[in-house]
Symmetry: none
Subunit: 225 residues, 2 copies
């Protein structure tokens, strides 16, 4: 019996315990290590050489993306399954870029996680449905004729980023137009391009995106008493 060896990296003790319970009951999966931050994950990955690494994104000291990058660099055949609370484009795209083989959400049931682990181990990829949907929208099949094609997430143009920032700061199209000395119609066009590229269709979503990617700052100060 060849059980799939798994390294578990998540800073929440409860999540690790839960996984150990849930996955431990699966006959074909064996958890051979646990890490509670990214640095530990890298160290254990290189030491234990697990078949699959289940890696949380939000971890202290070293986040899941960086940890993945470092593991892949030192251990290129590592198969890493990202676990995240959110399906933000930026994270998914980044995770794929640094070499993760799959992306599952924490809303996923452990059964599906088991399936994902099996699939990853078998050399395939696995993405939660909502992640896959976003991926499809994100990639306008940009293929180079060299056969090899790097599915590259469409990046925002500098003008679009500029407009995004102003939108997130609360400006209207008309105000942005006068700010940039272009017509309001053009601003609308940029806004539409933004929404198409990001698959976000409302101002609130654009604002959240702008904040999460650092296009604007949004630091806290008061705490509603």
């Amino acid at each position: 019996m060849n059980r799939i060896t798994v390294l578990l990296a998540d800073d929440h003790t409860i999540v690790r315990e839960g996984f150990r319970q849930m996955l431990g009951m699966e006959a074909n999966i064996e958890i051979i290590g646990e890490a509670k931050d990214g640095r530990e994950a890298v160290a254990l990955a290189l030491k234990l050489r697990p078949d699959v690494i289940l890696m949380d994104l939000a971890m202290p000291h070293l986040n899941g993306i960086e940890a993945t990058r470092q593991v892949i660099k030192a251990f290129p055949t590592a198969r890493i399954l990202i676990l995240s609370a959110h399906s933000d484009d930026a994270y998914v795209a980044e995770a794929i870029k640094v070499g993760a083989k799959g992306f599952v959400l924490k809303q996923t049931s452990s059964q599906d996680v088991c399936r994902a682990i099996g699939q990853i181990h078998a050399g395939q990829t696995f993405f939660s449905p909502s992640v896959a949907k976003r991926l499809a929208l994100l990639n306008p099949t940009r293929r180079t004729r060299e056969g090899a094609m790097v599915a590259k997430a469409r990046e925002l143009s500098s003008r679009e980023t500029e407009v995004l920032q102003l939108i997130a700061e609360g400006s209207t199209n008309k105000h942005i137009a006068s700010e940039l000395s272009i017509s309001a119609k053009t601003v609308e066009k940029h806004r539409a391009s933004l929404m198409a590229k990001l698959a976000i269709h409302d101002t609130a979503g654009l604002t959240r995106y702008a904040i999460s990617t650092g296009v604007i700052e949004n630091r806290v100060q008061n705490t509603t008493s």
Copy 2:
């Protein structure tokens, strides 16, 4: 034997499954319900009347703070234990203010969560060590002289906060209306009140405010390209 009945509210399936496994093994705890967002938590709390409610803070549609406020209002003897990934002062203070009896971090082991549940059920409070430490620092007698009342910004009502969260999540007035089973006109009214109280006059601004005050989560971080 009287087992402690517990309602579990967390939007992550994996966390709920983990808890069910870990707590289910405890002889004196019985999980009688699960909710995957705040509104479900409120409904189930009133229907099931559990001894203890284990409530996550970051949940869609209605966050843990608002859910706690609503449960306590309709069911004042409810004993609620907050579960959170972060120990931010603002969250802890707010949780206590709305009537939570304890605050544990997701880094906590399930054994400690069991202890917390027992303690809460016994009429005491429970705070994770790092939370308790912050609490001590946070509490240098906030009381000003009676009547002092310096220009206090009007606080948002519970309903307004609820609407704010949904706006920041990207819902339209119409969608919020059907979500809350009220008329779109009333949602508009709440939105207008929000804007008047906060002196913010656009959706982007409301979204930034919601994020900066923790009404919704916005996964920030990550640089690298």
